[in-house]
Subunit: 244 residues, 2 copies
């Protein structure tokens, strides 16, 4: 059975186009390596109703939900509070998180003021996700994993998340590249897809690139993957090219 | 009144992490320049139920919906068909689209076979969106604008879309950069945000960069934007730095 998941990205900076998201592709690859399907992604504004609405839909629908963004010390960081509301639990200072921040800041001569204490304030009952980069932790509540938006910090947190989630059979992939036109092979490719429903076959044309077409096959079933890839290779050959 | 919008990205290749999306940031910037708020983004698989479900939610909720991906000639291109189903209209060959493809392919000695004809098959009543790159058009039905996933083609199509949508008052932005720590200025920054509810103030720390903190202000109201930016600059100055 497929283990499904979703990512919820929180942040006006992505929706205004001023920041190019780098977290989706990173998490997507790590999930694929664990045999977990990334089924959906949503990007919402720093808006309470939007965050709570999207989170409640996604956590009901998918096995795991990963969020990025909105857990810093400033006024626009409202993710933790929204998640407490979505789960209908109090939003409280976590003693362990507070202690980690105290120790970290003490060695740096930085005061643990009210703003920084917000980074230790999480939904009651949530477990901490380690942050090896800047200490302020993420957290896990139910099937939801809450991480920072800064890519380097999120990546550090994901190493911990990776140990908390159950994986499935890894999805294997095989890419065959050629310079054929999609329209010339679409019917044959569709027939191969029909023959191998366990294999997910995608066709991706590229502009200004050689080879100009990638045919990508994915499946958790290696035997079917190899058989389908063999048919795609034979088809490319029959059109006078060799798959690359 | 805010003109709202959403993007629906269709494509397994984004969710598997094999392709880094480049369309969201492009469309986001173009919408911002037109004074249209990008309120939400969803990325879904090449899956009929997911596409139809997301599209119907988004088109009911926002003024405009822009989709990318899934309108090519291969079996995994199911966006046009799903949109016809979402609008409960037949999915039919569009005479004008067919003629454009015939003329384009005739000059290239390429046959307009059944697979390619799918690219002229769109929801009944939809208007064509010009594709200056590879001719096969996108389309507009209701408040939904359907574009290709290949960035170069999508960008060409967006030039036409841009003429079909109503803009609002452009959102102006101002970024002030410094090396202060977020936690040291969070309270003051929050107070400035409270004083200027018409201005959207975001705080974005960067790792391994100097300056290490960007404070970004956005508003359609230039006077308030300048006043808030002045206060942010004064706050940075009071902390012993000059805004960059």
């Amino acid at each position: 059975m497929t283990i499904t998941s979703a990512i919820l990205v929180v942040g006006n900076e992505i929706l205004s186009g001023s920041t190019q998201d780098a977290n989706i592709a990173f998490i997507a690859k790590r999930l694929a390596a664990r045999g977990i399907q990334l089924s959906e992604v949503r990007i919402v504004r720093d808006d309470e109703a939007q965050i709570i609405g999207a989170l409640n839909e996604l956590r009901a629908k998918y096995r795991y939900v990963f969020t990025t963004g909105g857990i810093g010390p400033t006024h626009d960081d409202i993710t933790a509070e929204c998640i407490a509301k979505a789960f209908c639990v109090p939003h409280v200072v976590n003693a362990e998180a507070k202690q980690r921040l105290e120790e970290y800041y003490a060695t740096r001569g930085v005061s643990l003021n009210e703003a920084r204490l917000r980074m230790a304030t999480i939904p009651e009952g949530a477990k901490l996700i380690d942050n090896p980069v800047t200490i302020a932790p993420g957290f896990n509540i139910g099937n939801v994993f809450v991480m920072a938006g800064v890519p380097k910090i999120m990546q550090g947190m994901f190493d911990h998340v990776d140990t908390l989630i159950e994986g499935g059979k890894p999805v294997l992939s095989k890419a065959l590249r050629c310079n054929l036109r999609e329209g010339d092979i679409a019917a044959e490719l569709g027939a191969i897809q029909k023959e191998f429903p366990e294999v997910d076959i995608g066709s991706y044309p590229h502009m200004f690139q050689t080879p100009s077409l990638s045919l990508v096959l994915r499946s958790a079933d290696e035997e079917h993957l190899e058989a389908a890839a063999g048919k795609v290779a034979a088809m490319i050959h029959a059109h006078g090219e060799e798959p690359q």
